[in-house]
């Protein structure tokens, strides 16, 4: 089954000045049992966005206009570390986030994001910091991310090159069904199994 290709993302960006954002923060564990329905976006950063009584914390960035409508997060360093929960990606997407810019990402989150068409954009920390200041200073600031050219266009028009692993990029641009692609190598997989026996359960 092919996917929706991802080529270019343009939208309002929110400054999210937090480093070491673990996936427990992105979606607390108690929401992982919930189905992926229309409520899913409300779990995003739940305990940072809402107080104990369920009221919005006015100081949280996504609770402040115009950033409520953000499609891109400009974070800091080490976004999406810790637990492998892909629900962190689902929650970001359900809220409307389509790309996250940071210096580094947790390895598993980075992979999960690419599989789902959420773009993790890695840029040097100085660039990330400058972009965050730019989108915070002149709202509503928009960023454009071109996956084909691997280029992010800042509000001032400056272009910043980033890199996405070639295979993942190709899959995203083509809307490639990865399982289908792998199954096209079925003869090779079967040959491997014939020559190397794996103990069964």
């Amino acid at each position: 089954m092919s996917r929706q290709p991802v080529t270019r993302i343009e939208g309002l960006a929110a400054p999210f000045d937090v480093s070491n954002v673990d996936t427990d923060q992105i979606i607390p564990a108690r929401f992982l049992r919930r189905p992926r329905d229309t409520q899913y976006g409300t779990y995003l950063f739940h305990d940072l966005r809402f107080d104990e009584a369920g009221q919005e914390r006015p100081d949280f960035i996504l609770n402040r206009p115009p950033f409520r409508q953000a499609a891109i997060l400009v974070a800091a360093r080490a976004f999406g570390v810790g637990s492998s929960r892909e629900a962190a990606v689902y929650a970001l997407q359900a809220y409307g986030i389509r790309a996250v810019v940071a210096e580094t990402f947790g390895d598993i989150f980075f992979g999960n994001a690419l599989k789902n068409g959420l773009l993790p954009v890695r840029l040097p920390l100085s660039t990330v910091n400058a972009l965050r200041d730019a989108v915070a200073a002149s709202p509503p600031a928009r960023l454009a991310i071109d996956l084909e050219r691997e280029e992010l266009v800042a509000p001032d028009g400056a272009k910043h090159a980033f890199a996405v692993p070639a295979f993942a990029r190709e899959c995203l641009l083509q809307g490639q069904d990865e399982i289908g692609l792998t199954l096209s190598f079925l003869p090779q997989i079967e040959q491997f199994e014939a020559r190397r026996h794996t103990p069964t359960v």
């Binding site: 089954m1 480093s19 070491n20 673990d22 427990d24 923060q25 607390p28 564990a29 108690r30 992982l32 049992r33 919930r34 992926r36 305990d47 104990e52 800091a76 360093r77 080490a78 570390v81 810790g82 637990s83 492998s84 929960r85 892909e86 629900a87 990606v89 580094t104 947790g106 390895d107 598993i108 989150f109 992979g111 999960n112 599989k115 789902n116 692993p165 070639a166 295979f167 190709e170 990865e178 399982i179 792998t182 199954l183 190598f185 090779q188 997989i189 491997f192 199994e193 190397r196 794996t198 103990p199 069964t200 359960v201």
Partner: protein, 469 residues
């Protein structure tokens, strides 16, 4: 052939197909799933795909397992019916696809990263994956083992393979031997404090050195478990006589002639003497003290004689900010001494520290004494629970005032009802001290089972070396 690391040897023997983009189609020998894998089964169902090799996957119910005894397969009714529903869905998925599983009530049930090795289902030289970041645990047996997300779980179920780019190689050496009261958990926390919570990002860690060789397999499982807390893709230890002796006779391990044949391959599973590592880090095991975390990242750890950070003394703005936020969440003053810090609750369990050796280490401290604060122990597997009961450890725990629970992820994950209340300070043998990890507002201090036991007795953080009998 140029010298290769252990990791590179195992990787090379699992490449089905390489692509020009620097990515390999890697064969997966063992896949473990749990209740949280439901997104992947939903994805397969939506596309009408079968599970290609159900005989290479094993399922364990752990994340939502209730640890209180009761009428549902020996467990209490969950506080939220949705938790019970996920266990039912797990059972249904396992049955529908013909996947062998240890659900609730099965004598093999436990935490997936405890059960897999215990059942001999993880073996040296294997590639192992599971939709859980602590899959790195299994590397202790000399396997490439890493956590994956739901999309990759679906990919493995459908193909028994994964497209992967090869991580860089990093070696962490522990020279010398640890002293009394210092063990694998302290080694792991000291390593993470040194390299940072993202310090091993993009790397596979091989643990080596005298102190690693001296560790039991249980200790190596603890050490490899925490690899992800340094940001590593995985961690592994070269298999040796300790490994082989531990594996022999386990249900999934080969026997007879098959064992001899397997051993021939396993003996070659070590890094060549001249193998190149992109990074090398070494620690003096003899200088390590019992460690614990003071903040909200596993890298915010210090020796028990030490103190929480003083943000003003930190070199850069980012770390000052992170430390200040962590201190605020943890309710600690800058530079607060760790010894003497009152705790409200103690948890002994999780895939990090719940094995028989962990329970023995805690019981040795607790024997004949009483805890001053509420404390809970959840053995890593039902088998470990039975073995502990057979040697009387359960009585030591209960006489000390601990709750002796059934096996599951319990209070490590904050998703099954075992929770730390907001503002409570918990001495915990688990692996993550993230804000809210053990419950909203919970304050977690990670430490070894012996340290946690001593904290229970004192009602505060103490140096287990001064508290031992």
């Amino acid at each position: 052939m140029s010298p290769r690391t252990l990791f590179e040897k195992i990787w090379a023997s699992h490449v089905v197909q390489s692509r020009a983009e620097g990515i390999d189609l890697l064969y997966i020998d063992r896949h473990y799933c749990h209740e949280g894998s439901f997104h992947a089964f939903n994805a397969l169902a939506a596309e009408g795909r079968p599970v290609r090799r159900p005989d290479l996957t094993f399922g364990v119910a752990d994340h939502y397992a209730q640890t209180r005894p009761g009428p549902i397969a020996g467990r209490a009714a969950p506080p939220d019916p949705e938790m019970g529903r996920l266990i039912e869905i797990f059972d249904r998925n396992m049955a529908a696809h013909g996947i062998a599983a240890a659900g609730l009530g099965d004598p093999r049930q436990g935490i997936v990263h405890v059960v897999g090795p215990e059942q001999g289902l993880t073996l040296p030289g294997m590639t192992v994956v599971c939709g859980d970041s602590h899959t790195s645990t299994h590397g202790a047996l000399g396997a490439i083992a890493f956590g994956i997300g739901a999309s990759e779980v679906a990919h493995v179920l459908a193909t028994q393979c994964l497209w992967q780019s090869r991580p860089a190689q990093m070696r962490v050496r522990f020279d010398g031997r640890t002293g009394a009261g210092v063990g694998a958990k302290d080694m792991a926390l000291a390593m993470i404090a040194m390299v940072g919570a993202n310090g091993a990002q993009g790397h596979a860690i091989e643990y080596a050195g005298e102190a690693v060789e001296a560790l039991s397999v249980e200790g190596r499982l603890t050490l490899c478990n925490m690899s992800i807390e340094a940001g590593a893709r995985c961690g592994l230890v070269a298999p040796d006589e300790t490994t082989f002796a531990w594996l022999a006779g386990r249900p999934g391990a080969p026997a007879g002639a098959a064992w001899d044949a397997a051993m021939e391959g396993w003996r070659g599973l070590r890094s060549d003497p001249d193998a190149r590592f992109a990074r090398e880090v070494s620690l003096d095991a003899g200088a390590l003290e019992p460690m614990l975390t003071w903040g909200t990242s596993p890298e915010q750890a210090a020796p028990v004689s030490g103190a929480a950070a003083d943000p003003a003394a930190l070199p850069d703005a980012e770390r000052r900010h992170a430390a200040a936020q962590a201190l605020d969440y943890m309710g600690l003053a800058p530079g607060a001494r760790l010894e003497g810090l009152p705790v409200d609750r103690v948890f002994i369990g999780s895939c990090t520290n719940s094995r028989l050796g962990d329970l023995r280490a805690a019981a040795a401290i607790l024997r004949g004494r009483r805890a001053k604060v509420p404390a809970l122990v959840s053995p890593g597997s039902t088998q470990i629970k039975r073995a502990a009961e057979a040697e009387g450890l359960d009585r030591i725990f209960t006489e000390a005032g601990f709750e002796w629970r059934e096996s599951g992820c319990s209070m490590c994950v904050g998703m099954n009802g075992d929770l730390v209340a907001a503002g409570e300070r918990c001495a915990s043998t688990s692996n993550r001290n993230f804000p809210g990890r053990q419950g909203r507002g919970a304050r977690t201090h990670l430490m070894s089972p012996a340290m946690a036991a001593a904290a229970a007795l004192a009602g505060r953080i103490v140096d287990v070396r001064e508290y031992a009998a």
